[in-house]
């Protein structure tokens, strides 16, 4: 049975409770939270506890900050690790499954000038392994999982494919670090996205969905039945979290996604 989550900013309403009403009416099973920096996600705990008490299902949080665990700048990188630790603790506190982050976003692309990053690939790997190990140990202690999200080549220069993410996670050696896949990035980076899902199957812990053009599923040209079939084949039990931009009327677009995905899943 497909479980579908919607990121909170896509849903209408001021409170999580109102958003939840819209989400369930459209056929969603959960809300994916967004975790901003400055420990503001921790500061939302009272709000999240009330929502939890009111029945809102919130299994995951996706980081929403300007810097990440693979930042070139040591201070920013340290802060990103602190923020992610806090987000893992908060999501654990409300009974969730884990928190998702890329290695970086918008910091550097080998496909755009000046093409050569200021840090070597070897050093990239060192800082990522250090951060993932520290966060993985923290996640394990909290009973949750850190999801590492490969981004496409224009948004990150370190982790673009499922295989690269799996290699890093294998080196970390902790079950509490898994891949958080994203259909949009996979469409750019993977030669055969369903085959990539099969190959990385044991490493996949979370999935986000948007179409080939970053719009809502159904608005682009991804082969959804094949992609969802691959998740079914690996026995994926997590949520599909909708993270996308919207074409057309936003309310209608968001409301149409669950039915579209369920039909595509056969």
């Amino acid at each position: 049975m497909l479980k579908i989550a919607c990121q909170e900013q896509l849903l209408p309403g001021e409170t999580l409770q109102t958003k939840w009403e819209h989400a369930t009416a459209a056929g969603y099973d959960a809300i994916e939270l967004r975790g901003k920096g400055g420990l503001s996600f921790r500061d939302r705990l009272p709000e999240l506890r009330r929502a939890l008490a009111d029945g809102v299902v919130m299994p995951t949080v996706c980081v929403d900050m300007p810097h990440f665990i693979g930042a070139f700048d040591d201070d920013l990188r340290r802060d990103a690790v602190v923020q992610m630790k806090s987000q893992l603790s908060v999501i654990a506190e409300i009974g969730g499954a884990g928190a998702q982050t890329p290695a970086s976003y918008g910091m550097f692309s080998r496909r755009l000038p000046p093409f050569e990053p200021p840090r070597s690939a070897g050093r990239d790997r060192e800082v990522l392994l250090a951060a993932l190990t520290e966060l993985g140990e923290h996640a394990r202690a909290e009973g949750v999982t850190l999801f590492l999200e490969p981004l496409n080549r224009y948004e990150d220069h370190m982790v673009n494919t499922l295989r690269q993410a799996a290699d890093l996670i294998a080196a970390v050696g902790l079950d509490s670090v898994r891949i958080g896949i994203d259909s949009y990035h996979m469409n750019i980076e993977e030669a055969d996205p369903p085959a990539a899902v099969l190959a990385a199957g044991p490493w996949i812990g979370h999935a986000q969905v948007s179409d080939s053009n970053r719009l809502q599923p159904g608005a682009g040209h991804l082969d959804w039945p094949a992609w969802l079939g691959a998740l079914e084949a690996i026995g994926y039990q997590g949520h599909l979290a909708v993270e996308c931009r919207l074409a057309g009327d936003p309310g209608e677009a968001v409301a149409a996604i669950p039915a579209f995905l369920r039909r595509a899943a056969g």
Partner: protein, 451 residues
Amino acid sequence: MTVLLDPAQHGPGRHHRSLRAAAVRVLLGNWTGNATVPSRSLYPHQWSWDSAFIAIGLRHLSPRRAQRELESLLSAQWADGRVPHIVFNPAVPCGAYFPSPDFWRSSTAGRPAGAPSTPETSGIVQPPVHALAAWLVHRADPAESGRRRFLARLHPGLDAWHRYLTAHRDLGGRGLAAIVHPWEPGLDNSPAWDTALRRVPPAPAGSFRRADLDHSAASDRPTDLDYARYVRLAADYRDAGYDDARARFAFAVEDPGFNALLIASEYALADIAEAIGADPAPARARAVRRTAALTDRLWDEERGIFTARDLHDDRLIPVRGVAGLLPLMVPGLPRRITDALLRTAAGDHFRLGEVHMVPSYDLTGPEFDPSRYWRGPSWFNTAWLIHRGLLACGAVAEADRLREGILRDAGATGFAEYVDPHNGAGRGIRDFSWTAGLALDLLCGHPERAR
């Protein structure tokens, strides 16, 4: 998925869910970008009737890939209309499969008959189940089919394919398509071909090297002597430029399975024609004529089954094979014939419902071998076709039992190529694409009301 796999509807729901996931894994794993290989090890290219059966399963997983499967096969069609039985993948080393591209030499030897300059293909054919597959693929997602103009683009090729078989392969002159190589009906080493094949001088030992035994047990595969005759027949056809008028066929047989599938595909082609605003009448007329010829020429009243006719002496070959049951899916057969077929299927020779699926050859026959390829083992594609035929004849309970048996055997053997009909043990290779595809098709609900 939730509705189709509702346990209340289909019994062991959890088992079916895991079987479905496993079938999907095989189909995704054997996909190469444009088509599906029957097996990553033994069969590394695209096979004609495999692709049709695979597409029938793929339509439930990815209608787009199912369409591509058939489109890529048809893109290698020859100008004379024939759809070659193998389309070679140029990225695979030449020695990975025998007979290889440099044996068939389609782009040179087949040039006068209209072989494409690329890709390389074989020069013989396999059963024409493609129009049926195309129609089923279309029906799975008419919107995606329409968006890609799938039927409109495929129809001319399918029509040319059927016209080739009608115009060039009616070697007996009585309205049936003849096969000119035991590989053409798909049932390569069936005992039905033994007598006719014995007339063929084998190719000299050492003039070729089999590749199939690298991946499969010799006891599960055709013998070396059979193989030498297969090679001889193919080489002679090649040396005649694959010209059906010029070639002197040492082997020419009218096969009931091949013709039954052509009839079913003619009806599907008529449906396709209707859907795109073309004239369905020619395909329907061919289907009706061929059905009459099938009954006139290949019905073996004494044995209660259709048998093959050897064009060498124009006599029926007295061998009961699974191909003789496939006309169950042909619309418009006299009731007395379908009733007799149902009795034969349930009788001592095939024991439908008592053994695993449907044996490829007479269980009581002198040549029966439960392990060797088409000389006894039960195959999933013929079982799927007979399931369809049983439904068409209204034998719903028998069809449902066969469906459960197919799913059980597919799951228990890891999607084997074929199984021992007595104990269900898997034979040949595993993760076989059409086994996974047809299991997926049966899991995804009952087929459209068969004609």
